[in-house]
């Protein structure tokens, strides 16, 4: 007797837990349905297909969890439970109002058949009966073949989609790769900011080629000797050795050659600012 009592208690406990889980699941489902309906009713002009898909996905996920709860091993066979209304009254019932958020004010004769029914609608029942007879007619082999072909088509489709996605992704990547080179960026910024790589610090190879291309510059070199002291150091050094060709190629020359001569003469006479 003790054993069966304990077993009964356990059953009750399980039932209670299951019911609580079911109630919370159904409440979640209800909330997502409410928000979806709101979205459809109020934002229909701004609604996008992905957003609708999201709502459907949410609902489907919640239905899935509901199913899982029902199938859970700890769930007692709810099929064996029967719900019988004990009291039906046409008066307003505050408790029911509160529990159903104002939707069911009265637990009466008209409300109960709708809320406590277990049989599906007649049309639905018809369709289900039809489907069952159809399914019974097909031989098991035929059924198996149909299942296999469905599976094959689904997997083909999936493969095609994933291949398309992969190809477009890699194509996009290849395209995006080489539109700029960070090293070049740094080199260009350095050139603009303080002349790195420009006439000042040219590699000796190109300096040599410049020398040969300046036969007419020989006359200016004489005048330039006085001028060269300025960029080299701030201290005046009239006896600076004349490093002709290479210095000529380097900066220190003003932009225009003709004015260079005039300027050289002036600076050779110890410009006051050089101090």
């Amino acid at each position: 007797m003790n054993n069966s009592q304990r077993w009964c208690k356990r059953e009750e406990k399980q039932l209670e837990l299951t019911l609580e889980a079911l109630i919370s699941q159904v409440a979640d489902l209800k909330n997502s349905l409410v928000s979806f309906i709101y979205k459809l009713e109020n934002e229909y002009d701004r609604l996008t297909w992905p957003s609708v898909l999201d709502s459907f996905a949410l609902l489907s996920g919640q239905l899935n969890t509901l199913n899982k709860v029902l199938k859970h091993e700890k769930t007692p066979l709810l099929r064996n439970q029967v719900i019988i209304p004990l009291v039906l009254s046409p008066d307003r019932d505050e408790e029911i109002m509160r529990q159903t958020e104002g939707r069911v004010p009265v637990f009466s004769h008209e409300v109960v058949p709708d809320h406590l029914r277990t049989k599906p609608d007649p049309e639905v029942e018809e369709q289900e009966k039809q489907l069952i007879t159809d399914a019974a007619r097909i031989s098991p082999d035929g059924a198996q073949k149909q299942i296999q072909s469905l599976n094959k088509m689904c997997s083909n489709l999936l493969e095609k989609i994933s291949k398309e996605e992969r190809e477009s992704e890699s194509g996009g990547l290849r395209q995006n790769k080489q539109t700029f080179n960070p090293t070049d960026t740094n080199a260009l910024v350095a050139a603009v900011a303080f002349g790195k790589g420009l006439s000042n610090r040219r590699p000796p190879g190109s300096g040599g080629s410049v020398q040969s291309g300046q036969p007419g510059a020989g006359a200016i070199i004489a005048g330039a000797s006085g001028m060269q002291q300025v960029p080299m150091s701030s201290a005046p050094a009239q006896q600076q050795p004349m490093l002709a060709g290479v210095q000529m190629a380097q900066a220190g020359q003003p932009g225009k050659m003709p004015s260079g001569i005039k300027t050289n003469i002036k600076s050779a006479s110890m410009h006051p600012y050089q101090r």
């Binding site: 995006n176 080489q178 539109t179 700029f180 080179n181 960070p182 070049d184 960026t185 740094n186 080199a187 260009l188 910024v189 350095a190 050139a191 603009v192 900011a193 303080f194 002349g195 790195k196 790589g197 420009l198 006439s199 000042n200 040219r202 190109s206 410049v210 291309g213 300046q214 300025v230 960029p231 701030s234 000529m248 190629a249 900066a251 220190g252 020359q253 003003p254 932009g255 225009k256 050659m257 004015s259 260079g260 300027t263 002036k266 600076s267 410009h271 006051p272 600012y273 050089q274």
Partner: protein, 208 residues
């Protein structure tokens, strides 16, 4: 000999101190066309404007270690344009939230004898280059895409060679000091040029 930071200078009238907000990036030659297409779509509707400029950078070496730098620029393809003299200060070390490089900037239009004048004042040319490219505008923002050419023979702007296989892309705004909202607008615009070009604030001192 650098001008004192802008925040220290009293506002006693005269001209407002203008700051240049700058973002830089580069684009390879082969992707230049797509960048120009995108800019043509994003920027104000104008005739596409190209330019060919010759810029010379002058230094004045004083007693202090850091020389005073002035940039003189002249247009090589448009006749009758004045020369452009520009002073750029040190980048302001603001908070990291500022998205663009900010520095004090003074722009002056001058007549043709600018180089003579500078040399008379004691400046010496440090380096020069030729810039050839396109200019776009969007509101107060100016986007310049140009190629830098090294001048092989000083003074001879016909013998030039490109410095690299890329074009430099600069997004700059000249605005009065203190308008940091400008850098937000610049950053939003720079986002639209990704992934073709990455415009960012590059500190030149890092590249020395």
């Amino acid at each position: 000999m650098e001008a004192p930071p802008v925040t220290m200078m009293p506002v006693t009238g005269g001209t407002i101190n203008m700051m240049e907000y700058l973002l830089q990036g580069s684009v390879l030659d082969q992707s230049l066309e797509s960048l120009l297409h995108r800019l043509r779509g994003l920027c104000d509707n104008m005739e596409p404007e190209t330019f060919l400029d010759h810029e010379m950078v002058f230094l004045l070496k004083g007693q202090q270690a850091s020389p005073f730098v002035l940039r003189a620029r002249r247009s090589m393809d448009k006749s009758g344009m004045p020369w452009h003299l520009r002073y750029l200060g040190q980048p302001e070390i603001g908070d990291k939230n500022r998205h663009a490089l900010v520095r004090n900037c003074v722009d002056i239009a001058t007549s043709d004898n600018l180089t003579d004048f500078l040399v008379e004042m004691g400046f010496r040319m440090d380096h020069e280059f030729v810039a050839k490219g396109h200019v776009f505008r969007k509101g107060i923002m100016k986007i310049v895409v140009y190629k830098i050419f090294r001048i092989l023979m000083p003074g001879n702007t016909d013998s030039i060679e490109p410095l690299s296989l890329s074009y430099l892309v600069e997004l700059n705004v000249v605005a009065p000091a203190g308008q940091d909202i400008v850098s937000d607008d610049m950053r939003n615009f720079a986002e639209q040029l990704k992934p073709l070009v990455h415009l960012e604030k590059i500190d030149p001192k890092r590249l020395m």
